[in-house]
């Protein structure tokens, strides 16, 4: 088999970050997947892709978190854990630095997740149809 260019091993580490960001993955794990020492790996990764592996992994997690904020109604703490980050405090700080808004404000800037759910028409019709109320019920107290 032909000689494999070293960057192919770095790409393997980058792909690992993209595939398993939701696990408690760190730069050490990425370095191991590339078969390099941590210091050598970080230097080579930056040379190949123009940013540190730490920055790549973190921004992948923030990108995934932003998608969850837009498309789900998971709490900010759940979103943080769902993308493999442990501390909600540092998540909020990093998120704000990356997107210019706190996770809560970012979510508020986007249409509610419910608007984006591609619920089939038949389900909408089945579940959105109001319960029939009679004239008599108008005067009944809202809650019995």
């Amino acid at each position: 088999m032909a000689f494999v260019p070293p960057a192919r091993h770095l790409l393997r580490a980058k792909d690992l970050a993209d595939a398993r960001y939701f696990e408690p993955l760190g730069v050490d794990d990425l370095a191991r997947s590339a078969g390099l020492s941590r210091a050598h790996f970080s230097r080579e990764f930056r040379r190949a892709f123009g940013e540190s592996p730490h920055a790549y992994l973190l921004t992948r997690r923030l990108e995934r978190a932003a998608a969850l904020l837009r498309t789900t109604d998971q709490s900010v703490a759940d979103v943080c854990l769902s993308v493999g980050l442990q501390s909600v405090g540092s998540f909020t700080t990093s998120f704000k630095r990356a997107f210019g808004l706190s996770p809560t404000a970012y979510r508020a800037e986007h249409p509610p997740a419910a608007h984006r759910a591609l619920v089939p028409g038949c389900v909408v019709r089945a579940y959105a149809r109001p319960q029939h109320r009679t004239f008599r019920e108008d005067r009944a107290p809202a809650r019995a």
Binding site: A2, P5, P6, A7, R8, L11, D15, D18, L118, G121
Partner: protein, 142 residues
């Protein structure tokens, strides 16, 4: 009428690429011809069963005089970094194809995920080329 017949992908190693695209992705060999009069140039193409008129050319990176060493090194480096191109495949059932390919040892960098245009996933070939596997499904009008 102009139609697409083949599209070419650089590969690091033709044997390795052939095994990957046939044994793991499930494609079939369309052409595998070595031409001694062209310095043993090997024309190697694969395609999905059932779609006979489109193939991917698995092209080895040539040496001089076709390509000088420096350029070949640049192509190799770009490919290894994952920036040498993408093949977009479609499937009727992304989750099923994902499980099938994973069962054959394909490592996905993106598991199937809902997108506005359907369900999308992604993996790489051994050379670093990016392959998308998409179930195209435009949103039904509500």
């Amino acid at each position: 009428m102009i139609r697409i017949a083949n599209a070419q992908l650089w590969v690091h190693d033709q044997e390795e690429a052939l095994a990957f695209y046939t044994e793991k992705v499930g494609m079939e060999v369309r052409a595998d011809v070595t031409l001694p009069e062209m310095g043993d140039f090997r024309w190697l193409t694969v395609g999905p069963p059932g779609q006979e008129d489109v193939s991917i050319v698995l092209m080895a990176i040539p040496g001089p005089p076709v390509m000088d060493d420096e350029t070949a090194g640049q192509v190799r480096a770009l490919m290894a970094k994952g920036f040498a191109g993408t093949v977009f495949l479609t499937t009727e059932d992304c989750h099923a194809s994902y499980e099938e390919l994973r069962g054959r040892g394909v490592e996905f960098s993106e598991a199937p995920e809902e997108r506005p245009y359907g369900i999308d996933s992604g993996f790489r070939d051994p050379s670093g080329n990016s392959i998308r596997l998409t179930e195209v499904r435009l949103p039904a009008e509500v």
